[in-house]
């Protein structure tokens, strides 16, 4: 079974797929076409469901093999993407749209086999800005990141509709931060990934912000002020080493 999931920005596509994957005990495939440099959703899926294979457009041959073998597959479409996928032209698939009632235009109804209630979106696609920052290798000072995230999501750098990111913290853990302006609060989830306690992490982390009137320069500059320098990182990691025997004892 192939499922293609689409919906407006912040509708809850990845969350819905994660719920589906949690109910599938067998191997499965997750495909996010076209987010090569900022695979935030894919990283989140991989951390939550390690048995799931992740694909983007780079590895089409292998993906075709899985599809032919009938492995359950979930395609997550970016909100800014076309909903046509050549790969699926000749394959039977189920189309799921996550759309809030107030966002239900006829185009979603026409495209989807199933429309599921998603988070409401007030994004004006014409005026929307999408800003991405790859942050791989950067480790954050946690209290600084908290301040930055508060400022970002409360509008200090322009109107933010949606923000999501994966951030490395000084304790060696990676976190997924998720903000959607139509939902209260922020989701803050520790990712089930190995702790990186030696040097800089060698895995993806990054930030994606969707909004209007974003002061991208200020966002980037503030992010930089939250990075741990090599020496600070080493000092944090030294204290982690000291505390490890205590934890064991």
């Amino acid at each position: 079974m192939i499922t293609v999931v689409a919906g407006p920005c912040g509708a809850g596509k990845t969350t819905w797929i994660l719920q589906e994957l949690a109910q599938i005990p067998t191997p499965a495939v997750y495909v996010t076409p076209g987010v090569g440099s900022a695979p935030i959703d894919a990283t989140r899926v991989q951390a939550r469901c390690p048995q799931v294979e992740i694909f983007d457009h780079q590895s089409e041959t292998e993906l075709l093999q899985r599809l032919t073998a009938g492995v359950p597959a979930y395609f997550e479409l970016g909100f800014q993407l076309e909903t046509d996928i050549p790969l699926l032209a000749t394959r039977p698939h189920r189309r799921v749209a996550l759309v809030a009632e107030e966002n239900q235009e006829t185009s979603w109804q026409l495209w989807a086999d199933t429309v599921i209630q998603g988070n409401p979106s007030t994004l004006d696609l014409q005026a929307a800005q999408l800003w991405r920052a790859p942050l791989s290798g950067q480790v954050f000072d946690s209290p600084s990141l908290d301040t930055f995230w508060q400022e970002l999501t409360q509008g200090a750098y322009g109107e933010v509709h949606r923000a999501k990111g994966i951030f490395e913290q000084s304790d060696g853990q990676a976190f997924h931060l998720d903000f959607m302006n139509s939902l209260p609060g922020n989701a803050y989830t520790e990712l089930n990934l190995p702790r990186c306690v030696q040097g800089r992490p060698n895995r993806f982390s990054g930030l994606e912000v969707v909004g209007q009137g974003l002061d991208e320069g200020a966002i980037a500059a503030t992010l930089k002020d939250c990075y741990l320098s090599d020496s600070l990182l080493a000092a944090h990691q030294a204290t982690l080493k000291d505390s490890v025997p205590l934890e064991v004892a």
Binding site: D141, P143, S144, G155, A156, A218, T222, D225
Partner: protein, 272 residues
């Protein structure tokens, strides 16, 4: 007698003027100020001139001290790297801006003021950098009042105003060694009512609204009135941007968030 107590003006002239106007409408006999006249905001010299013109008894805040002595707050007094970077930017800007006269005045400020059974400090009697928060241990809070010998301790520094009464206190201390002839095991009553009054912040509020806060205290009835004064903070926000201070300070002011956040560990006092 009614006294008005102001703290943490932080170079915000519009907020200070609004508070002074509010004081004019109350029957206030004397004004005191708990320091942090400068730092973060756009009008350090003007604020100092106004305080001097009105001859307001003032104690020295941690920002006033830093402008006099150079930045000697340790890194650990900032709760985050971001706050540290911003604090340094604000310090450097203020340091360039202040006149020798302003600096000399700030240097002349005492750490503590005492008037009858009232004591006035910036942070705590022990340090300008110590935060006395409403949820600081009641024993620690009481120790700070007892250390001054006064009944009521006025402080600022946290930027959120409150009144805290401390009463019915007792503590038993037993000497096991060297053994006292008859060790007392009964609780020793410590004192009658003691009080901490935090005056909040005139120029950099942190109670979630952008309005200035201060306190009026009636020394006869011993009643404290926490005052919140609305003013046109957009003037200060505009000046922050125009004068080259970090624009984020303007945003934080408009949200009622302190420019740099408060310390996580309020009792941490830098060793330097």
């Amino acid at each position: 007698m009614n006294i008005a107590v102001l703290s943490c003006i932080h170079s915000n002239l519009a907020a200070l003027e609004a508070v002074l106007r509010d004081i004019d409408q109350q029957s206030v006999d004397q004004i005191y100020c708990l320091g942090d006249l400068v730092g973060y905001g756009p009008y350090p010299n003007e604020v100092v001139a106004r305080i001097r013109e009105l001859d307001i008894p003032t104690c020295q805040g941690c920002w006033d001290e830093d402008i006099v002595d150079g930045l000697n707050a340790c890194d650990c007094s900032y709760p985050s790297l971001l706050a540290e970077t911003r604090g340094h930017l604000a310090h450097e800007w203020t340091n360039r801006e202040v006149t020798p006269e302003t600096r000399a005045y700030l240097a002349s400020l005492p750490l503590t003021l005492q008037q009858d059974n009232l004591c006035f400090v910036h942070g705590s009697p022990h340090s300008q950098h110590e935060y006395l928060l409403p949820d600081t241990s009641a024993f620690i809070a009481l120790e700070r009042v007892l250390a001054t010998g006064a009944d009521t301790l006025f402080c600022g520094h946290t930027h959120v105003p409150y009144v805290r009464n401390l009463e019915n206190s007792h503590l038993t201390l037993t000497a096991v060694h060297p053994a006292t002839p008859s060790p007392s095991h009964s609780p020793t009553p410590l004192s009658s009512l003691k009080r901490i009054i935090n005056a909040g912040s005139v120029g950099e509020p942190r109670h979630g609204r952008p309005h200035a806060t201060y306190v009026i205290y009636d020394t006869d009835s011993q009643q404290a009135q926490l005052r919140e004064v609305e003013y046109d903070y957009t003037q200060t926000c505009a000046a922050i941007r125009e004068k080259g201070l970090p624009a984020i300070f303007a945003w934080r002011l408009s949200q009622g968030l302190e420019y740099a956040e408060k310390a996580d560990d309020p009792t941490h006092v830098c060793e330097r």
